[in-house]
């Protein structure tokens, strides 16, 4: 029985069109499915999943949320990155030119929370929309053509897209790229990298399947060691 606050329960609350793609058979953070999110509220998580899956939709390879990207983003926002590590946040905060880079007073976590809430209000039907409609809305977001109050639409989009992309392709220890979805898709063999005798073999496909940092050969894919140990 999955508790009602669980990730799977939250994401299964999506519209039927989306829900089909949101029943991950098995992924790296499957053991988190019956736990609550660390940072995201349920409504934010649902909206985020539909936005991520518009950016990286399902085809022969999993969609973003199927690959654990919502879990990844949740963990990133709850962690040091989300809380503003590596970000100089001393005021004042005058507006700058594009070439001067990020000038908002928000940590990534604040930016995403505000952005998701404001976008949810501005586009209440987003998650239920057809893919083409969702694409149009995200295009407008990326072009700064949506009013999100004190959050510039483009800055929110850029953060969202960066995190989504990172979640799909980062090592599975961070909760995304589950079952190496992103790495299998492109053919990246991973962290156990040692090619002195292969690099000059021209046009020969590399035969090894992906292995992440915590990969146990012959084990169960990307399950983090720490969690397994706890499970006994």
């Amino acid at each position: 029985m999955i508790p009602t606050y669980s990730r799977r329960a939250v994401l299964n609350g999506l519209a039927a069109t989306m829900a089909a793609s949101l029943a991950p058979a098995r992924h790296a953070f499957a053991q988190l499915d019956d736990r609550a999110f660390f940072f995201l509220a349920d409504t934010q998580a649902r909206l985020l999943a539909s936005m991520c899956d518009t950016l990286i939709p399902k085809d022969d390879f999993p969609s973003a949320s199927e690959a654990g990207v919502v879990d990844f983003i949740d963990l990133q926002l709850a962690g040091p990155y989300g809380q503003g590590e590596g970000l100089y946040l001393e005021g004042p905060f005058p507006e700058g030119s594009e070439s001067q880079g990020y000038q908002l007073p928000f940590t990534p976590a604040e930016l995403m929370r505000r952005g998701l809430n404001a976008f949810g209000e501005a586009e209440p039907g987003f998650a239920d929309g057809e893919e083409s409609r969702r694409e149009d809305m995200l295009t407008r977001l990326s072009e700064d053509d949506v009013d999100l109050g004190d959050v510039p639409a483009r800055a929110f989009f850029d953060e969202l897209w960066q995190l989504t992309n990172q979640g799909y392709f980062a090592d599975p220890i961070y909760g995304g790229n589950s079952d190496y979805a992103g790495w299998r898709m492109v053919g990246f063999p991973g962290a156990h990298a040692y090619y002195p005798s292969f690099v000059a073999n021209h046009n020969v496909p590399y035969p090894q399947p992906p292995m992440g940092i915590n990969h146990d050969p012959g084990g169960d894919g990307g399950l983090p060691r720490v969690t397994k140990r706890q499970e006994g």
Partner: protein
């Protein structure tokens, strides 16, 4: 008043990267008691950089775990004087280091020498093309030190790194397969060139067929078991593809920890203090010398360390910042064009060309190394006739395979949407079938590109941030466009190529932006020369205004050459140390008359 004043030491060295550790090695062996103050922490290749944990793209390449912390110190930036500079709130365009080894830990290891003409830039161009060739808005100048003077030191640094390559000019004899444009070298590289993947090989083949002169990129990713002159043991590169932005746990990428620090750390004249940020250099009452440095130690105390000689090795940008906050030298004023500290800041002008192959070509981009490349130098420096081109300088063209890390390496042909279904398909289809070419161009100095102090923002220690004012000069925009177009021609001639795209970061009308990574090749601001009106240090790296302060690093470059800076700046470092040890210490004084 400092919380504490320590006993005097012979030499205090600010910064424990390539130049700082090397200064300590050489001066400790010359009998000088050296203290290095390093703002970051201890770390070591054997314990801190081992795979698979080090092979974490998110943590190191994108969250910048080995780099400096902008919360402690950053700078403000604007494109021109009529703009308000704003803080660089996160790292982007360049990634300076922090901690033992500095940026020498996460560099790529592309190890170059300057061309002889690069070092005599103004006189060389004027001699060859007449005085009109240099536009008025360029403040290009000679280095005041020549290739022949630096050659033994460039040679020695290649040996320290166990550099891998193939000489193109051995004692004046030109050799096919090497860089036939380089200055004469007394020795070949200590190790054979790297292996090459199919992408770089096809680039070299096309360039060769066009009558150009391709050669393997000189590399500090070592190709054989090797012992350097200090006794450090290096191992062959594994082509793991986690080089730039990562430390090398294989002991295969030459870095200052294994090549220098390990060989000096036990010496009785050597001491390094970590988590020790130098706040400023203190001057004597008459201002003619410095008395030592004030720093915050690892317990947060403000400490004064007196010293006879001060070496500034804090990386190009932070050397200039320290001079500005300490009142060393005379700050540059762009209004009157007087003063020198902060003058002639320049950078590197980058353009890129992508070639996409059909499915027959499988590149395996994840098999890479920081300096695994094939290079064409025909359009660098003054290796080609500049008559009527309307610009000076040039750049090397390199086809490189340095990583296939899947968040950052997502090449897609022109016209592909930047996300969504079509994008996803294109990423999947092209990952194994792409060649990456860079145009690594020179950057000319101008009176309007400079460094000074910001009036508003402060760092964690209450010091004003440094303010950078920079945009690409017209000269460099034209240069970049020209060399990029030559690159496109090569790319189109490569076998099995189905499409080619290009981007010039210095395209006409495009402002330099601090956001996307370009290079950590910030140069100038405290330049070397023979005239105190246009240089901060004399030709020995000694400050004109304070003779016991010696300056190291790329801040010395009067303008940037088309090559990566570490080879040239380490050549200068050994040159300076040679004169410091053999001339200055026995009789401390200005080594040149002002």
């Amino acid at each position: 008043m400092p919380d504490k004043t320590l006993p005097k030491t012979d030499v205090v060295i600010i910064g424990g990267g390539w130049t700082g550790l090397t200064a300590a090695y050489e001066l400790a062996h010359a009998g000088q008691r050296c203290v290095i103050l390093e703002r970051g922490d201890h770390r070591h290749d054997a314990t801190s950089f081992a795979g698979p944990e080090e092979h974490d793209e998110l943590k190191y390449a994108l969250r910048y775990t080995h780099m400096m912390d902008v919360k402690q110190n950053t700078l403000t930036f604007r494109n021109s004087r009529d703009q308000r500079a704003l803080p660089m709130r996160r790292l982007g365009s360049f990634l300076p280091g922090e901690g033992l080894g500095g940026a020498g830990i996460h560099w790529n290891g592309q190890i170059w020498r300057p061309l002889p003409s690069d070092l005599e830039m103004r006189s060389h161009y004027v001699d060859r093309y007449g005085s009109d060739v240099l536009p008025d808005d360029l403040s290009v100048q000679d280095w005041g030190v020549t290739y022949d003077e630096l050659e033994p030191h460039l040679d020695f640094f290649e040996k320290i790194c166990g550099a891998a390559g193939y000489a193109g000019n051995l004692n004046g004899e030109s050799r096919d397969g090497g860089n036939v444009f380089e200055g004469p070298r007394r020795n070949d590289y200590p190790n054979p060139a790297m292996k090459q993947p199919i992408s770089n090989t096809l680039f070299g083949k096309a360039a060769d067929e066009m009558g150009l002169h391709p050669f393997p990129m000189p590399s500090a990713n070592v190709t054989k078991a090797y012992e350097n002159p200090y006794g450090a043991q290096l191992h062959p590169c594994t082509y793991c593809g986690f080089c730039e932005r990562f430390g090398c746990g294989y002991f295969a990428k030459a870095d200052p920890i294994i090549c220098v620090y390990d060989r000096i750390k036990e010496h009785e004249n050597f001491e390094i203090r970590f988590k020790s940020t130098v706040l400023r250099v203190e001057k004597s009452e008459d201002g003619k010398t410095a008395t030592g440095v004030t720093y915050i130690d690892d317990q947060g105390r403000e400490v004064f360390q007196p010293a006879d000689t001060i070496c500034m090795n804090a990386y190009a940008l932070w050397n200039v910042h320290l001079m500005l906050v300490s009142g060393l030298g005379t700050p540059y004023d762009p209004e009157t064009r007087t003063g020198t500290v902060g003058r002639n800041y320049s950078y590197q002008t980058i353009a890129a060309v992508d070639a996409f192959f059909d499915d027959e070509i499988i590149t395996n981009p994840f098999m890479g190394a920081g300096a695994m490349g094939v290079v064409v130098d025909d359009f660098n420096g003054d290796n080609f006739d500049h008559t009527d081109l309307g610009f000076v300088g040039g750049g090397y063209i390199a086809c490189k395979q340095y990583h296939g890390r899947p968040i950052s390496y997502q090449p897609v042909p022109e016209g592909t949407p930047s996300w969504g279904r079509e994008w996803k398909r294109a990423v999947r289809d092209n990952y194994l079938h792409h060649a990456d070419m860079v145009i690594h161009g020179s950057s000319m100095s101008t009176p309007e590109n400079y460094l000074d102090l910001d009036p508003t923002w402060k760092d964690a220690f209450g010091r004003p941030l440094m303010r950078m004012t920079f945009n690409f000069p017209e000269n460099d925009r034209k240069m970049s466009e020209y060399v990029m177009n030559r690159t496109v021609e090569i790319a189109r001639n490569m076998d099995n190529v189905t499409s080619v795209s290009s981007v010039n970061l210095a395209a006409p009308g495009k402002d330099y932006t601090i956001v996307p990574y370009q290079t950590t090749h910030n140069v100038g601001g405290a330049v070397i020369g023979t005239d105190p009106a246009t240089s901060v240090v004399n030709r020995y790296g000694q400050m004109w205004e304070h003779h016991n302060v010696f300056v190291f690093g790329a801040c010395l470059f009067p303008q940037n050459l088309g090559y990566n800076p570490t080879g040239p700046l380490m050549g200068l470092a050994y040159w300076t140390l040679d004169h410091l040890k053999n001339d200055y210490l026995g009789n401390p004084r200005p080594l040149m008359d002002a």
